[in-house]
């Protein structure tokens, strides 16, 4: 029974750790499916986390912080769009620039505005997304097996977790069942065909990158105002790249990408618990081995040793309208 409760709490922390990855992976999905490579997810999420932390601290409301985070992330995304779509600049370079800019700008502004060594003031009360206890969690929690699952795994997360759970099917629906989604996928595979059909390639890609920005904004706000209680320097800690890896691992499909995020988050949740614990046969697994695992798996997948990941065909190529 005790082991079971342990397992449930491991899964619960998997869910909590997976949220920023899922949001970022879906954000990247919009960009890459539309044919724009975005390695700037990390930077957008970091800038959004700073905006959320700052505005939530000033306004006292996590929700206003969330709106600010979304605005900032969309602005960053629009810079990417302006450089890559309008000026047909190098998409990798632009993404890199935004990552570097976000690291610098958030640290400089946080340092100058709050004088707390590069972080925003600690948040409490309504300035944070607090855990929501679902109805009857206490009573149902007493029931064996189902009880802990309901009380610890399903109940007790913050609003953004439930929001993310709702976003997953919506993204899947938008990408595969709507006209916008069909055109978005087409523009990532064959922009010429879309152009011939009289649809603006540039405007479609701009809209895709707005979606990317919105999702990165939610992810950033989750980091600063839900998972932690303030913005901290470089608090994204590579999650944007991990999400990119998950997106590739999920072969640019929403549900498999989400599953990859859950897998990576599970590895993350597990590593804390495995620290110094000797396992049968393999003995003590170094924390770093588990940390490196998602990246190693992604490389192997990209190399075609475990399945094959094929990117959208027009991904990374700027589109020039023929005259």
């Amino acid at each position: 029974m005790d082991d079971f409760v342990q397992l449930v709490s491991l899964l619960a922390s998997t869910v909590r750790l997976s949220i920023p990855l899922i949001l970022c992976a879906l954000a990247g999905l919009f960009a890459e499916r539309a044919g724009v490579v975005d390695i700037g997810l990390e930077g957008k999420m970091l800038a959004a986390a700073f905006a959320a932390g700052t505005v939530a601290a000033l306004s006292g409301s996590a929700w206003i912080g969330l709106i600010a985070a979304i605005i900032v992330a969309v602005v960053f995304s629009m810079i990417h769009a302006f450089a890559c779509i309008t000026h047909r600049g190098n998409q990798v370079v632009s993404g890199m620039a935004l990552n570097v800019l976000a690291v610098g700008l958030t640290a400089v502004l946080a340092f100058a505005w709050f004088r707390e060594g590069g972080q925003t003031p600690a948040l409490s009360g309504a300035a944070r997304f607090a855990p929501i206890v679902l109805p009857f969690a206490d009573t149902i929690g007493q029931v064996p097996i189902l009880g802990p699952i309901y009380a610890r795994l399903i109940s007790g997360h913050n609003a953004l977790v439930y929001l993310t759970v709702a976003i997953i099917p919506i993204v899947s629906f938008v990408i595969f069942k709507t006209r916008f989604g069909l055109r978005l996928r087409a523009v990532g595979e064959n922009p010429h065909a879309v152009d011939t059909a009289g649809i603006s390639v540039a405007w479609l890609r701009y809209r895709a990158l707005i979606c990317t920005g919105v999702l990165c904004g939610v992810a950033g706000s989750y980091l600063a105002t839900a998972m932690a209680s303030a913005f901290q320097r470089e608090m994204t800690a590579g999650r944007g790249f991990l999400a990119l890896a998950a997106l590739i691992f999920g072969k640019w499909m929403p549900v498999p990408a989400v599953l990859a995020c859950l897998l990576f988050a599970f590895a993350d949740a597990l590593q804390g618990r495995l620290q110094g614990v000797a396992l049968p046969i393999v003995g003590v697994v170094p924390v770093q081995a588990i940390q490196a695992l998602p990246y190693l798996l992604t490389v192997l997948l990209l190399a075609g040793f475990v399945g094959k990941a094929v990117a959208p065909k027009a991904s990374g190529i700027p589109y020039a309208k023929e005259k």
Partner: protein
């Protein structure tokens, strides 16, 4: 479609980058203004702190050494049509190669340590880049993604080794013991001392001369050898290269290996020259600065050297600035770096049509 031919070469190689650079600095100035400080005074402190006195110049050149290596690494790969974002990881692993010789074979005579440590460092860097190169050439895995992944794998590997295997017990941070004197690169202070010149203490060391030599050799390699020619043809048009009898796969792998070896030399400067021991996260983002340096230097070794000097000055001056102006933190330099990558890289063509029009009008008049 392209208006590249509409302006003279000097406008393309000098004017346009300078305009973009200026824009990056103007925006940085606005950031300084936004946090309530005087940008003109900040600029003066920065310049003074970077080149105002001998010690400052030495530190500027020390930073520039790192950036020449990582900038050349990015630039060389660019010529082969490859974007090597993995300089950070390659330099990190190269540091391991250097440390293995300097720690465990330091009983050897110093010329052997000197050559061996540099060679093993370069070899480790080359290997860490050649694998993504091989994956790109043979398996079609995109080198941008694989080099990013390899950065994270390198970080995990090095943290493991440093905190479990190689660390010297009793130190506050995971790092090895200090190398013995004969297993380090001579500092500039020492070298100038040999010819009777007194110089201030600084991390500037022999690697600076290696960086200048590397820039020259990269120039020769890219533009004066048949391998360099093959590399450029593959970068321009892989199909054409194949018809010309060039093996693109081999060229890509070799280009990545050389690029990794160059990035590895940054590890030599840091580990064998400046720190004289292996420590966690010694690369400090210098690998990423190489991207900005290569973009600003237009992927030419001379341009890379000039851009590296500029960034060296920014890093040294930025440290001074953070010390003098309390509201500005060291990361201000990172902001400038990001803006430079944005304007000199991603938005490099923003002003091109505008300037081309100006020249066309001038010609017509």
């Amino acid at each position: 479609m392209s208006s590249r031919g509409d302006m003279p070469a000097w406008a393309d190689y000098v004017l346009l980058p300078l305009i973009n650079l200026l824009l990056a600095f103007v925006l940085s100035g606005l950031v300084v203004l936004a946090i309530g400080e005087d940008p003109v005074r900040a600029m003066r402190i920065l310049v003074e702190g970077a080149i105002g006195y001998p010690e400052a110049i030495a530190f500027t050149l020390y930073y520039a050494t790192n950036f020449i290596f990582t900038g050349l690494a990015v630039a060389l790969a660019f010529h082969a049509g490859l974007f090597n974002i993995g300089g950070e990881g390659q330099a990190y692993v190269a540091g391991l190669g250097v440390a293995l010789i300097c720690l465990y074979l330091d009983f050897l005579p110093w010329p052997i340590i000197f050559v061996g440590a540099i060679a093993l460092g370069m070899a480790f860097g080359a290997a860490w880049a050649a694998v993504p190169g091989w994956l790109q050439a043979k398996r079609g895995s995109h080198v941008v993604i694989t080099t990013i992944m390899f950065n994270f794998i390198a970080a995990a590997l090095m943290t493991y080794l440093l905190s479990n295997v190689m660390l010297e017990p009793g130190r506050g941070a995971p790092e090895t013991r200090r190398f013995i004197a004969s297993a380090t690169l001579p500092s500039m202070q020492t070298m100038l001392g040999w010819i009777g010149i007194e110089a201030p203490r600084s991390p500037l060391n022999f690697a600076f001369f290696m960086a200048i030599a590397a820039a020259f050799l990269v120039y020769v390699y890219i533009w004066r050898t048949r391998w360099g020619y093959a590399l450029r043809v593959v970068g321009q048009n892989e199909q054409a290269a194949r018809y010309a009898g060039i093996d693109p796969a081999k060229t890509i792998i070799v280009a990545m290996a050389i690029s990794g070896a160059l990035a590895g030399l940054m590890g030599v400067n840091e580990i064998m020259g400046a720190h004289q021991r292996l420590l966690v996260a010694f690369t400090g983002g210098f690998g990423f600065v190489g991207i900005a340096v290569a973009l600003m230097g237009r992927n030419h070794p001379l341009g890379v050297c000039l851009a590296a000097l500029l960034f060296g000055a920014l890093y040294q001056g930025g440290a001074e600035l953070a010390f003098e102006m309390r509201a500005i933190s060291r990361e201000m330099v990172v902001v400038i770096q990001g803006l430079i990558i944005l304007f000199c890289g991603a938005l490099e063509n923003m002003f091109r049509p505008w300037i081309a029009t100006l020249f066309a009008r001038h010609k017509a008049a």
